[in-house]
């Protein structure tokens, strides 16, 4: 070893330390990264003359990361469901106590208010004011059902639009993952640094997991394959599969939304062979195709119950039953199909004082205008039996369509109560699931940060180490310089 080679070794040492310091400062800068930043380590190996920074590797823990992806998807799904149901609940399902200042808007509350008005009117059938009050309560109930049905349709349309946005962002994320994955494959093959690309792919994966539940499978050269939680291929062989969805802008109760297709396989909807079960997309699909459809059916059942309970029968002959107080605008017969009744139900203009109708027809019958359907043929002012019959209809159990997903045999009032309770149960279940999953997500995030994150204390002590090594090496250089200085000075002082 000569002085010159000592200088070269010291120089190598300095460049190694600066390479380490670069990684260190990257770590410190990344410590507060809101996305995924994993700790980087500069690997130092000894070289023929000193040492060299061979590569930069990142801390990773696949199991913890997979856990984070699952938690992210589950949380996103319940959040989507919970926020949709909240919206439904706030607009129509309010269980707040019915008071004069803030009247409850739920069909259940409106129905009980109408029933009370009818009871009051039954007590004094000759009172035209009470008749008008009962008819007005009926009108409010019909409008309440209309607006509830409209809200459900709007919610489904919103969920559909959100699904379209979700599909768009899935496609965008997959395209980005394809690019980053390519960089990682090239970098791994050529032994270039890929730690940053791996971080950014992990970030993209967590964003993807927000939208759809995924599992990843590692492949050659650091590449990955991505499958949906139902097993459908999203990304394989370095190529992203297409996710397609044709949105439906306007929803009416009969509308069935389109399914989302991944790689040609439907992943939402009842007929999907490989359905997705977590992520924002799954939550929106449940909201659009299941929860709100069931609630819609419940509203339709209530509307149908009202129309049939108040239908008038032919008192003179054997004609078909005709719609009474509750009807569908323009109807000349009882509706054949239940679907969509909640959105259409209205009170018969013949009994509506606001449309020049006669509210007393509630007592007398013949609201449809057909004289054969008049019950109070004697035109008695205190005729009570029709009103009693209507109230009996309301409180007798009827069969409801099973589409609502709740009790099929109940009184109309009981069914309305069960519907409100069902909605509240769905909402509170989604809310509690959402907060539970968000707690799980926090735990998973913390676990990942503990496993692969940056510990500032460690980095700071590393920095002190580096500083010391750097000073020592620099000192070595200055010593070599001093030795050369001594040599040259002594040469200068030699006697001529």
């Amino acid at each position: 070893m000569s002085l010159s080679s000592a200088a070269v070794t010291a120089q190598t040492g300095l460049s190694t330390i600066t390479a380490e310091a670069a990684v260190l400062s990257q770590n410190i800068a990344g410590a507060n990264d809101t996305g995924i930043y994993s700790r980087k380590t500069a690997n130092i190996v000894s070289a023929p003359d000193g040492s060299q920074a061979a590569s930069v590797t990142r801390a990773s823990n696949q199991a913890v990361f997979d856990n984070l992806l699952n938690a992210t998807s589950a949380n996103a799904m319940h959040q989507a469901l919970s926020s949709g149901l909240d919206q439904l609940n706030q607009t129509i399902g309010s269980l707040a106590s019915d008071s004069a200042n803030s009247p409850a808007t739920s069909p259940e509350a409106l129905l009980s208010r109408f029933t009370n008005a009818l009871y009051t009117y039954e007590a004094s059938p000759s009172d035209a004011t009470l008749a008008a009050a009962a008819v007005n309560a009926a009108a409010t109930l019909a409008q309440g059902l209309n607006s509830a049905a409209a809200t459900v349709n709007k919610l489904r349309a919103q969920a559909d639009a959100a699904m379209a946005a979700s599909v768009q962002s899935i496609n965008a994320l997959l395209a980005q993952i394809q690019a980053v994955n390519g960089q990682i494959v090239t970098g791994t093959a050529t032994k270039a640094g890929v730690a940053d690309a791996q971080d950014s792919r992990d970030n993209l994966l967590t964003q993807l997991a927000q939208q759809i539940g995924i599992t990843t499978v590692a492949g050659a050269n650091g590449s990955i394959s991505i499958y949906s939680d139902g097993g459908v291929t999203l990304f394989q062989g370095g190529a992203a599969r297409t996710v397609t969805f044709s949105p439906t802008a306007v929803y009416i109760p009969m509308t069935a939304g389109n399914a989302v297709f991944v790689d040609g396989v439907p992943i939402t909807g009842g007929s999907s062979p490989m359905p997705t079960s977590s992520g924002n997309l799954a939550g929106l699909a449940v909201l659009r195709d299941d929860t709100s459809v069931k609630y819609q059916a419940q509203l339709d059942n209530i509307a149908n119950g009202l129309i049939t309970s108040f239908a008038e029968s032919d008192q003179a002959g054997s004609g078909p039953n005709l719609p009474g107080l509750f009807t569908v605008p323009g109807a000349t017969a009882l509706p054949a199909s239940i679907t969509g009744l909640a959105g259409q139900i209205a009170i018969n203009p013949g009994a509506d004082p606001n449309q020049a109708g006669n509210p007393l027809l509630l007592r007398d019958g013949g609201i449809s205008g057909n004289p054969s359907y008049v019950y109070n043929t004697a035109a008695s002012a205190s005729y009570q039996s029709r009103l009693s019959q209507l109230l009996a209809n309301l409180s007798s159990p009827t069969a409801f369509s099973a589409a609502g997903g709740i009790a099929v045999n109940a009184t109309l009032d009981g069914y309305a109560t069960a519907s409100a309770a069902w909605l509240e149960a769905q909402r509170s279940n989604a809310a509690s699931q959402s907060s539970y999953q968000s707690a799980l997500l926090n735990t998973a995030t913390t676990a990942l940060s503990n496993a692969t994150g940056v510990n500032l204390d460690t980095e700071m002590s590393k920095m002190l180490d580096l500083e010391n090594s750097y000073s020592a090496t620099a000192r070595l250089l200055s010593t070599i310089n001093a030795m050369f200085g001594t040599l040259l000075a002594d040469l200068g002082n030699l006697p001529a």
Binding site: L3, S4, P48, T190, G231, T233, D263, V265, L488
Partner: protein, 405 residues
């Protein structure tokens, strides 16, 4: 004649010390030259009166220049992958503009306008073409060709083999109706490549036939591919693995491509959701050349953007029996001489040859401190010689004065 010979001997001494100073000056000026080998001055006495007693005639000194070629300089890191150094014995083979082959350890190669690797002194690095159509490693001078880093722009490889491993859920209901392009229990897909490198999506449809039998059909855009008949995977009800008698692989004829032999032998049928654990198919799309890597064994490979690495050149290492006797050529290169022994060409790290380090350069072997101290020694030697000459001159002068007196 002793006195006069003393004076001529001291003159030869001064000339020799002058040569030594010249060598030191060359060394110091090349203290930072990549691959430079320190020049050493060897002195040897001249004697032409062996056996003569009494009268003494001085014959002086002769200086010989030697290059310490076998000594290795320190390796220092650089950032260019085409900067090469040899750790251990041996030399790169290079060619000058007129086609003569030389040896050098100055490895600061950069591509010229044609992509040939040329070092700072203008010598072109030579190697053996081991890529497609190349002559391969011959370890002869005649087989050498310039190492070129401009790879073939695009290469595509059709798919021929793959592996697909998945678990099929044993609790999946039996498929109702016949399996078809739209009727299946589970589906997965793989990307394969045809002869021109077009990606072809192979849709694998798995249909549960019941009785631990699953039918596999392969589709591409809804068109069923070979095998013409369905392949049935028959699982062992005892452990969920494929029975030995079952089909273990699929031979899929890729449209406009080769037949891909897809190994499915590790698939299972267990009570767990459908999950793919391995899905790989070889082959690749046309891919851009992206750079080169040079391995320690001297293999230079082209890197393509899809991660493919294609070996293209083998950079050999040459050596001679007596490297110190090589002739030096300007530009830190050496030529075989009569005394060096013949050229031995081989691969890195084989037969005592060194290994090739990419992104490193060999420093000059000159140590400044040694050169400075040697310089003092040369200076003092020169002074002593001049003193001898002066003394001889004074003695002659006193002789002449004596005659006058």
């Amino acid at each position: 004649m002793g006195l006069l010979s003393a004076m001529t001997a001291s003159v030869s001494g001064m000339a020799a010390q002058g040569n030594a100073l010249a060598a030191i000056s060359e060394n110091i000026s090349n203290a930072s030259t990549t691959g430079y080998k320190e020049a050493l001055i060897q002195f040897q006495d001249l004697v032409d009166q062996a056996g003569v007693t009494g009268d003494y005639t001085a014959d002086g000194v002769n200086s010989l220049i030697r290059y310490n070629i076998a000594e290795h300089g320190n390796l220092t890191g650089t950032t260019s992958p085409t900067d090469l150094a040899i750790q251990g014995n041996g030399f790169f083979l290079v060619k000058d503009a007129s086609g003569n082959i030389f040896m050098t350890r100055a490895g600061s190669f950069v591509p010229d306008q044609n992509g040939n690797l040329v070092n700072a002194a203008g010598y072109t690095l030579m190697g053996y073409n081991i890529g497609p159509g190349g002559a391969g490693v011959t370890n002869t001078v005649s087989g050498l060709t310039p190492v070129n880093i401009n790879g073939a722009a695009l290469i595509a490889t059709p798919s021929t083999a793959g592996t697909f491993t998945a678990n099929l859920n044993s609790n999946d209901p039996v498929l109702s109706g016949a399996p078809s392009a739209t009727n299946y229990t589970k589906k997965s897909s793989l990307v394969a490549y045809d002869d021109l490198g077009n990606p072809v999506t192979l849709d694998l449809h798995f249909s549960n036939l019941g009785g631990n039998n699953w039918e596999v059909d392969v589709y591409n855009n809804g068109v069923q591919l070979n095998p013409p008949g369905p392949v049935t995977l028959n699982f062992d009800p005892a452990n969920g693995h494929l029975l030995a008698s079952s089909a273990q692989s699929l031979s899929i004829a890729v449209p406009n491509g080769q037949t891909v032999n897809l190994d499915v032998s590790n698939s299972t049928q267990l009570a767990s959701p459908f999950a793919v654990t391995t899905a790989t198919v070889n082959g690749n799309a046309p891919s851009q050349w992206q750079g080169v890597t040079i391995a320690p064994d001297g293999t230079m490979s082209y890197n393509y953007s899809n991660g493919q690495i294609a070996p293209a050149f083998k950079i050999p290492i040459a050596n001679v029996n007596s490297p110190d006797n090589l002739d030096t050529v300007s530009g830190d290169a050496f030529a075989q001489s009569l005394t060096s022994g013949s050229l031995i060409i081989g691969s890195a790290s084989i037969g005592g040859l060194g290994t090739i380090k990419s992104s490193e350069l060999e420093s000059s072997t000159v140590d400044l401190a040694t050169q400075l101290t040697d310089m003092v020694v040369a200076q003092r030697g020169y002074e002593s010689n001049s003193k001898v000459f002066q003394t001889g001159s004074e003695m002659l002068s006193s002789l002449i004065n004596m005659l006058h007196g």
